[in-house]
Subunit: 370 residues, 2 copies
């Protein structure tokens, strides 16, 4: 995607066209009631459907423009597609973002500019940079790419070392998500400038990592044996567990918990946004938490001694969006009942999407490495 | 676009599926004769057309898969689209690249691995990094993004300063093109590792830059008054004309010539790939070159004293692809006839696409700052 989508979501929230529109496209348009109107020119098409949470049949006018207005949307970032004849594809009038397993159309339903300020570029705020770095993964047997955010001043202070946050995207997304959809770099630039967060390095890799030998998921091996050593070699990191955090969203939250709780020698700060700590059966949410034996055995016994856990883990941060429901609030409460200290945050109104996760990152980053 | 497309074009040239395919998608498939077969599932579509240079009607099988095989394609990188009912859209089975004014589908018709080695990541080659940097343009009245490549060792040598190449994309593309389609970072990493190029910084900005006041194109003002000062402030550059180059492709070549020839105090190395130096009328290629007065007056008289030009400009590099025709060879010859030294390079076989420009960058970069 290009610079417009990357920036305008932050800078053009007052506009009616979706900030993700290409160039000067006036559609999709977000109405004051957060209904979104889509418009596509396809004079000879026989049917066209908008897929945004649910399917909306579009209607063609005499000029060949198909339009439809959605139900009111929760403010935030939403993927969507067009469908015709059984084919799902992108709206050519907007930028695409890697999500749903492909470069996918998306709209931003803006919140008020004051609320959006924390992920909006601010003039005069010293900026970090996002590096794209290619690396060979022996575990996966392929060249891969990581994004690495370094804070403002990284280059001006060649003697300074920084703590590191490993930050994972959600299912169907990749290492670009936290920058293009999440504005992680803007969020940290703004927090650091306000003195609300410690300058830190953020590392983003794709969570899709099959082992080269076909023996299954290589994600944890890749991160712990290849990514972390490479980052500690290439960047001026504080390379110990006290200065290493891991967080993720949705599927990436599960990966973050698995890394943070499963590799206690590597991480001491953990954040899970809109995802659960899996103990026992996945499908029954509190399963395992209710069973003292399963709970004590989880992650090689990391929860078996709450006193040890609370003394050795600096932060266990659990968060989601209000519209996602209360199960994570329940998970946080269950952990507290069992003596495991944790911080719970709920993003007002928002759903299982990037506005929730931008807010989660802000709340998490403020608490890191302090 | 995601890591796969970004890397596989370099690393999977022997494969039949296009290197730009998403995940494990087997279509599009490139045949040994460089015909490309496309396959899309749209059981209820009434018609589907492949647009790759020309339109190819697709044919539906009993399972609802639409397929078509193209004419043999020139090796290299080609944008394409699908069409139905008057709507042009992307193939959901491949990564998209910003081109043709939107995130657009593309295929890579591989050349032999040996020829592709120079833009293929090589294990053991020290790597630079590509930074994404947001900047406020007062000229354009908007936040914009630049990509900045710094060579291997940039961080390890805090006392070292580097020459800078300003590198422009083509029409309908943006600042991502030279990295995602062009592999400029891989090309420079490999050249530098072989001792064939001087370590340099490469700056890429979008060439689409309308003035905030609506008074027209702000590109030159933005680059000369905002981008160059910012780069010289944020990076360890050698900030003089002897250490500053500008190049571009197609429309970007025109911009590179306008900057390089129009701002002689800023640049002394110029590269134009698949684009012309406009003297006189644009549509008649040699127009102006034939007219001594127009020629001497061009760019405030930069060509009026060939001796001065040849002594003060270190390189005027003109290049294109063989399949693009001979007009740039003619332009190079005309300039030489008039005493203006220049180097001409033609990429064997290739067309007006990124394989041509990868090769042009390689040949240009080898000659820079020496």
């Amino acid at each position: 995607m290009s610079v417009a989508a990357f920036l305008m979501a932050g800078s053009a929230l007052a506009q009616t066209p979706s900030p993700t529109n290409l160039g000067r496209n006036s559609y999709p348009q977000v109405g004051p009631d957060n209904r979104v109107t889509f418009r596509v020119n396809a004079p000879r098409a026989t049917s066209l459907t908008l897929s945004l949470g649910k399917d909306y049949p579009m209607v063609k006018d005499e000029k060949g423009f198909w339009t439809v207005t959605s139900d009111p949307q929760v403010e935030g970032f939403h993927y969507y597609s067009l469908k015709t004849g059984g084919l799902t594809f992108n709206d050519p009038s907007v930028h695409s973002f890697f999500g749903t397993g492909r470069d996918c159309s998306a709209i931003e339903v803006p919140e008020d500019p004051a609320s959006a300020a924390f992920y909006t570029p601010q003039q005069g705020v010293p900026q970090g940079a996002v590096r794209s770095i290619r690396y060979w993964s022996e575990v996966c047997g392929q060249w891969r790419r990581m994004f690495v955010y370094t804070p403002a001043g990284y280059e001006q202070n060649p003697g300074k070392r920084y703590p590191v946050l490993y930050l994972q995207h959600g299912g169907g997304e990749d290492e670009t998500g936290w920058i293009y959809q999440g504005f992680a770099d803007v969020i940290l630039d703004n927090l650091v400038a306000e003195g609300k967060a410690v300058p830190m390095i953020i590392v983003m890799v794709s969570g899709v990592a099959q082992k080269a030998d076909g023996s299954g998921d290589g994600f944890e091996a890749m991160v712990t044996e290849e990514v972390i050593p490479l980052v500690d070699k290439r960047f001026r990191t504080l390379a110990d567990r006290d200065n290493r955090a891991v967080a993720g969203l949705s599927w990436g939250a599960k990966q973050a918990y698995d890394l943070g709780l499963g590799y206690r020698d590597l991480f001491s700060w953990i954040g899970g946004f809109s995802g659960i700590i899996v103990i026992g059966e996945f499908r029954v949410r509190p399963a395992g938490y209710e069973d003292p034996e399963k709970f004590a055995a989880a992650y090689d016994g990391v929860f078996s001694d709450p006193k040890w856990f609370n003394e050795n883990y600096h932060l266990l941060f659990i968060a989601n969006g209000e519209a996602e429901g209360s199960h994570l609030m329940g998970m946080s409460a269950l952990l507290k009942e069992r003596g495991i200290e944790n911080v719970f945050y709920q993003s007002p109104r928002t759903a299982h999407e990037w506005l929730t996760w931008r807010r989660c990152l802000k709340e998490f980053a403020k608490r890191l490495f302090k």
